[in-house]
């Protein structure tokens, strides 16, 4: 496990099997996924713990993450399988906790789970 942006939150998981291109697929006002082909189509990212493989696409997508945070429609935290610079810098800009977890742990998390995350703890992830 690797901590990219630290923090402490608790919330319900929304998991995507698809990578997310923040620039093209997330509405920067509402935080809703607007890409018909995405498995989270029409789902809102607001106040959930977003679990997805990794970010893809333009690095300017980091500003989309900053925008949804400014508009109070951002996730509480993000958990990825693979680090990418767009999500890393976006979460850093917006101060959204971000961790990278192993493939094994990634496959064990499902939508609807209640998770608490504390990056300062020796065991940062807890399932309620």
């Amino acid at each position: 496990m690797k901590v990219l942006v630290s923090g402490k939150v608790q919330g319900i998981v929304l998991k995507s099997k698809d990578s997310i291109n923040f620039l093209g697929t997330v509405d920067k006002k509402t935080g809703i996924i607007s890409d018909k082909n995405h498995d989270l189509f029409e789902k809102s990212l607001k106040d959930i713990i977003l679990v997805f493989p990794s970010g893809v696409g333009s690095s300017v997508g980091a500003y989309t993450i900053y925008s949804i945070k400014s508009n109070n429609t951002a996730p509480l935290a993000m958990i990825c399988q693979k680090a990418d610079l767009t999500v890393a810098t976006g979460c850093a800009l917006a101060n959204i906790p971000l961790i990278i977890i192993s493939d094994e742990e990634f496959s064990s998390i499902e939508s609807g789970m209640n998770i608490s995350l504390d990056t300062d703890s020796t065991n940062p992830l807890h399932y309620q």
Partner: protein
Amino acid sequence: MELTREEESALKGEQGETMQTAYRILVATGEATDADKLIPIEWAHLAGVNYNTIGDAGEEFLSGISKNARVKVKTTLNPMGFDIDNVSNYNLDENFISKQLSIKNSYEAMGVIPSFSCIPYEIFDIPKNGTQVAFAESNAAIHANSYDNLKTNKESAFSALASALTGKSPYSSLRKEDTPNITIRMNVKNPNELTYGMLGFFAGKVGDTSVNISGLGEMDNRQCKAMCGGMGTSGTCAKFIFGEGDSNCEKIDFDEKELQNIHDELNTAEKGDIITLGSPQLGLDEISDLVGKLKGRSFQKRCMVFTPRTIKEQARKIGYTNELERAGCEILSDCCTCLTPLISKDSVDAVTTNSIKGAFYLKNSNGVGVNLKSLSQIIEDETR
């Protein structure tokens, strides 16, 4: 990552919100790129200047932090969307102009040198060998690592800005001794700048963080820039190492077939309605060469020439701008072919250019057709 006590303190917010955000960006970037510490840098070059690329969110963010953020090291920046001297000729809407000027003001308020150029390596003095810098513009990062004996990550717009504000950058692979994953053997005869652009584009696709490259002959400045621009467009690779490399390193040929594949991918039109020269922007030697090649002939179509403001001033003193304007060129400072809002598919079907980098963005961002030709061919076909 190991942080010093002062870096830890900044990350906790004890040196204000701006420093906290900047260190958060450096740490997130460093962890994502397996850096173990931050190191001092002497020069930052920023991307994320054109309103076309950063949009309202970028404009608002910069406007916010510019109220108290100040750069700690020499900081230069990329082109913006237009040249204020002639923007009225280009039908840009008021919103674009005012948002772009706000972005310009924010960077200037932070103490950034308003260079608006993607070729900092041609218009500023190069520091001594091995100097650590943080260049966000991809062609400039590749040029710095490959030709200027500088060291930089391929920074994002955000990590470069954070480096400007803190004077530090993650100590990631390209700052250390990098091991290329592949050796490319240049195997195309009689290359021109288009060939080198496509070679760079190919290298960016197959390279990881750096590539070995062999079989290159003497190259002029235009060809070197074309190769860096091409590589930066197609991947995350940010360094050419000249030579065959280790005998264990995988070898791959860049031959006529690969050249044709890339040509077919990027060349989408038989002819262009207008011509653009400069992506990367033209340096003084390229302007001089263009004047020499024109020999009194004139373009039969609109020809946009992109060059940094400082180069345009030098060119004016020598008399080159007069000659280019006589030949029908529109000379534009502070902006570039790449991601320009000045070319729209509403008025232009296709553009002729000798830039692979320009071709990629014209096709994918502006949505216009692209007709690739070398400069010599453009002069032969499009001037009289």
